[in-house]
């Protein structure tokens, strides 16, 4: 199955019955799959007139109490930033998928990881966060989507699937596991029409008084702290005895795994920490690794974005190096290996 299809099907399996999107390569198989499947499961697929409209339809459907998803790729995600900020402030759950292509600008349609900052620091205005999953395989993409719906409903924080174009376009076998349900609070805040038996819904993101707005921001912050404490996910690979710790996510991490294996063959003790959630970022784990590792390397398909989070986690304890390619180029195990050899020599 293609990654994009797996993402779409996983959403349906997770109970998503509303999808609003606008075509853009390389994520078109998501809306296309939805167009086919939604009528079959009694859901609604609607092609919006734009990404701006799509994200605001998500606002509408989520506010109405539904599980809802939208997907796009880099330029389209930029257009959604205002809407995402609104959704974050109104505390509406939803899942947003970004199958990243190369940028800036119209760029190219080849894979990239250059929207990391936008995803984890907040591309929109104001103090908010998204729960950001960065799957590294088609299987994991499906798993993350299911979890994203559960987590998003649970915390009332929008979730983002941040996948490079390779994850979206790749075909790999995938198995849809039964969803791990959380005990969800009732959506009594949703707009459904009000018969007077509960307070009426007021889905809203305006708070004109500083005291009120500040309280809203602090409330959000509390939720974010909870998420940071409970939802951080990562994978360790050959970290037990690693001298050099590589940090990489998404497809890049798979290339790095190959490099780590080759490095081990050459006697270089490399290991990998792979963030599965990039926000919350596995800073603690990385900080812990500074006790044993002598150097850190961030590998990304960007000119250097996640590396900042690695630096913040390492906090000066050890050197942090960066290997990156961008613009649709894909790093090779050889590039990574070379860097590892340089470090090994320097040590």
């Amino acid at each position: 199955m293609k990654g994009n299809e797996a993402i779409a099907e996983a959403a349906i399996k997770a109970g998503c019955r509303y999808f609003f999107g606008y075509p853009i390569t390389p994520q078109n198989q998501i809306p296309e799959h939805m167009a086919k499947r939604m009528p079959e499961v009694g859901g609604t697929f609607l092609q919006a007139e734009s990404e701006v409209a799509a994200i605001n339809m998500v606002y509408g459907a989520s506010g109405a109490g539904a599980r809802v998803m939208t997907s796009s790729s880099s330029p389209g995600i930029s257009l959604k930033q205002e809407g995402i900020s609104y959704i974050a402030c109104a505390m509406l759950p939803c899942v947003i998928v970004n199958i990243m292509r190369s940028g800036p600008g119209l760029g190219g349609i080849l894979p990239a990881q250059a929207d990391y900052f936008q995803a984890v620091k907040g591309g929109g205005h104001g103090d908010y966060r998204l729960i950001v999953y960065a799957p590294a395989s088609v299987q994991e993409a499906a798993d993350c989507v299911m979890e994203a719906f559960e987590a998003s409903d649970y915390y009332r924080v929008p979730a983002l699937i941040l996948a490079d174009g390779m994850i979206g376009q790749m075909m790999e076998p995938v198995e849809f596991k039964p969803i791990t349900k959380r005990k969800q609070p009732p959506k009594d805040w949703a707009a459904t029409g009000n018969d007077g038996t509960k307070p009426r819904a007021q889905i809203n993101s305006i708070h004109i008084e500083a005291e009120k707005m500040s309280a809203v921001c602090k409330g959000l912050q509390c939720v974010y702290d909870k998420i940071a404490a409970k939802e951080t996910q990562y994978e360790e690979f050959m970290m037990d005895d690693a001298d050099i710790c590589i940090v990489a996510y998404g497809t890049t991490s798979r290339i790095v795994k190959n490099a780590v294996k080759k490095a081990r063959e050459l006697g270089i003790k490399a290991g990998l920490i792979r963030p599965i959630t990039v926000w919350p970022f596995p800073s603690e784990m990385i900080a812990k690794a500074t006790e044993k590792c002598k150097a850190f390397v961030a590998v990304e398909m960007s000119t250097g974005q996640m590396v900042e989070d690695v630096r913040l986690a390492v906090n000066g304890a050890k050197p942090v190096l960066f290997v990156g390619v961008t613009g649709g180029m894909v790093p090779t195990p050889e590039m990574v290996l070379e860097e590892l050899q340089d470090i090994e020599e320097g040590m």
């Binding site: 390569t25 080849l110 174009g165 979206g168 790999e172 076998p173 798979r254 290339i255 050889e334």
Partner: protein
């Protein structure tokens, strides 16, 4: 066992489907597989290509750097990917429209007049099938049977009448390398 293929050509020549058929056949044969296009088909013209891995172990990186085989359906693909074939690997060229010859001496080169053969069969769209027949036969990565299951699935009911044509094209390619 791990086998890495790059299938490349103009958008519209069916290079992505070719790769998908190999992937699907691999899955049928219970192997680990990955298929990755160099891009979604947003653009016509230009060079489209996909990376296919069929392996007995879980696939690490889906990106092919040292290819066991490259299939080049047009000139630009040959220019771009000849160097990617690993020493001892195989290179399949659609000699109908690729004028240049391969330069590498450390690999096996197969010149297949696939477009011409396809036109002879009355449908230039099966060019990729001729190449696929040659590739599968020369490498034995997967079996013809598995490929045919895939072809049937991809054509579906509405195009079931094309199965025979595709098989004919496949066989013609196969014959050239046997």
């Amino acid at each position: 066992m791990i086998n890495k293929l790059i299938s490349a050509g103009f958008g519209g020549q069916g290079v992505l489907l070719l790769g998908q058929l190999v992937t699907y056949a691999g899955m049928i044969e219970d192997k680990h597989v990955s298929w990755m296009p160099s891009y979604g088909p947003e653009m016509r013209g230009g060079t489209a290509n996909c990376n296919v891995i069929v392996s007995s172990d879980p696939v690490g990186s889906p990106v092919v750097t040292n290819a066991d085989a490259v299939i080049a359906l047009n000139g630009p693909s040959l220019d771009k990917f000849e160097k990617t074939v690993k020493p001892g690997g195989k290179l399949f060229i659609n000699s109908s429209i690729v004028e240049k010859k391969a330069k590498r001496k450390d690999i096996d080169v197969y010149n297949i007049p696939a477009s011409e053969m396809a036109i002879k069969f009355g449908n230039s769209k099966v060019t990729n099938m001729v190449m696929l027949g040659a590739y599968v036969t020369a490498t034995a990565v997967v079996t013809k049977d598995s490929i045919m299951i895939g072809i049937k699935k991809f054509l579906g009911k509405s195009k079931a009448h094309l199965i025979a044509l595709n098989e004919k094209a496949f066989d013609a390619g196969a014959k050239l390398v046997r």
